[in-house]
């Protein structure tokens, strides 16, 4: 240590801070990668059980090593660059898809103290990052120079842009209640048991947020961007091997992200539901896991939406609901019942 301190001289504190931050980033990204890998297995298992099948059970006990096997398989597959594609953008697409999906985790509070960047505009940062994620899809679809990929990316972009508005409005309700954009403060605003959590006064917004989250991540029943029966696999149809896997990782990272956000915003984050149990990160993980389970459940039970119905749901139903509820919350805050909304 002393040797290093001498080597960097006056820059030593800065170097220390940087390396400490890097370690924290790894401490977030590594468990996240494992969570993503096992979400793929959980998805196959859960849907399997719902359809009275067994699901993957060959690699390791109960198929527990299946994600590793899949990862190794994808790593060793050839990455094909289509001749007619735009090579630079074709390779940039997966990067732009996964970078925001991971970057957004910087402000998620796992615990009262466990947060990488405790910034005041945390919620805005997350909204900005999730809206940037669409570039991966749009660039991948265009650079592939393929009709299916292009159609898929167009659908996906229109859908994400539409549902972002409803999602943003749903979160506006939360920040009205919490009086802050800082995610840590939003969680602390819900302290005192599950009857203080925001999902009760903001129930319509919670539902709108969660359904919009499913649409934002392009998951069933809103997965027209992939639409296997119509456009094969949508925007990533031309990708193979690890490049395809990156899109896959980004999708599942986004699922975890929107569930983490829903748990933070509406379900009290790391707070315990009843006052006599201690607050801990385990509550946060449990809430997140429960919400992720809904994603799998939706996929196993709902048929795919028709495209015009998706647009109608987003623009003509969700946005009016959120607008009305925001005005209602704002009006109620001025009355003597305002304490219910804080």
């Amino acid at each position: 240590m002393d040797f290093l301190a001498n080597l960097f001289g006056s820059y030593w504190p800065a170097v220390q801070l940087t390396s400490w931050t890097l370690i924290k980033i790894i401490a977030i990204v590594l468990p996240l990668m494992i969570a993503i890998a096992y979400l793929t297995l959980a998805e196959r298992k859960v849907i399997g059980f719902m359809q009275v099948r067994i699901g993957p059970n060959r690699v390791g006990y109960f198929g527990l090593l299946q994600p590793l096997a899949d990862g190794v398989k994808l790593l060793f597959k050839e990455i094909i660059l289509p001749t007619a594609s735009n090579k630079t953008l074709f390779l940039l697409g997966p990067v732009l898809a996964i970078a925001p999906a991971f970057a957004a985790w910087a402000v998620i509070p796992f615990d009262a103290t466990l947060v990488l960047a405790n910034i005041d505009a945390g919620l805005l940062y997350i909204l900005a990052m999730t809206s940037v994620a669409v570039y991966g899809v749009i660039i991948a679809g265009w650079a592939s120079n393929s009709k299916y990929a292009f159609l898929g990316s167009m659908r996906s972009v229109a859908q994400i842009v539409s549902y972002e508005i409803a999602m943003g409005f749903a979160l506006v309700g939360v920040l009205m209640c919490a009086n802050s954009l800082n995610l840590g403060k939003i969680v602390m605003g819900q302290a005192g048991g599950f009857w203080h959590w925001y999902f009760i006064p903001l129930f319509p917004l919670f539902i709108v947020y969660f359904i919009s989250a499913v649409a934002e991540t392009n998951r069933a029943p809103f997965d027209v961007a992939e639409g296997e029966s119509e456009i094969v696999a949508g925007f990533h149809v031309e990708y193979s091997g690890m490049a395809f896997a990156i899109f896959f990782l980004a999708e599942y990272a986004n699922i975890w992200l929107v569930c983490a956000l829903a748990a933070t915003m509406f379900l009290g984050g790391w707070l315990s539901p009843v006052p006599f149990l201690p607050d801990s990160i385990l509550w946060f993980l449990a809430k997140m896991g429960a919400l992720v389970f809904f994603f799998l459940w939706f996929r196993a039970t709902f048929p795919r939406y028709r495209y015009d119905q998706i647009m109608r749901l987003g623009w003509k139903i969700f946005i009016p609901i959120t607008l009305v509820w925001i005005i209602f919350v704002g009006a109620m805050m001025q009355t003597s019942l305002g304490y219910l909304f804080h």
Binding site: I119, D120, L124, Y125, V132, V134, I139, V161, Q309
Partner: protein, 211 residues
Amino acid sequence: MIFNDFIFYTLAAILLFAGIRVITTRNPVYAALHLVLAFFTAAGIWLLLEAEFLAIALVLVYVGAVMVLFLFVVMMLDINLDKLREGFWDYLPMAGTIGLLMAVEMVMILSGKYFAPTTVASKSADYSNTAELGRVLYTDYLLPFELASVVLLVAIIAAIVLTLRDRQDSKSMNPAEQVLVKKQDRLRIVKMDAVVETPSVEDPKADKEKS
């Protein structure tokens, strides 16, 4: 401070490069993507100025929404660049004058005594840029702010009204009507005997082909 300067000049160089590429590149998709890069770096410079709300809002609004729609349109349309370039030399004198005027104005503003760079007192750690901006916008500048939003709303509605063509031949469904459909409206149950006598086959040709 040296480190800050270094970051500022790096970002400024990227910003200038991206800005120049926006107007020089031949491919409209590349131009739009360079504009995205320009917005990103501008947001970075704002972050250096500790204006985190503006920086994030820039990324959220311009990169996340406006440029996505730009790209969407640019990718969908088959833009003929040669046609766009046709009048270049005719427009050059006019555009050059306007550009020069803008440059002169910018220099005047930046070098004028009212806009001379002053050292801003650094804020305490719990100072929230977002809350401060919100307070000013919704108290001191409430009317101008509301006015600006009404102007925007009018522009949005005007754009829709101007481009709206009421097509007579387009087919659409009324979901409310669809939901209200009853079984009697669509389905007729016909009573039939469980066993229907099959008519005996008397076709010698078919028999021959079989054997």
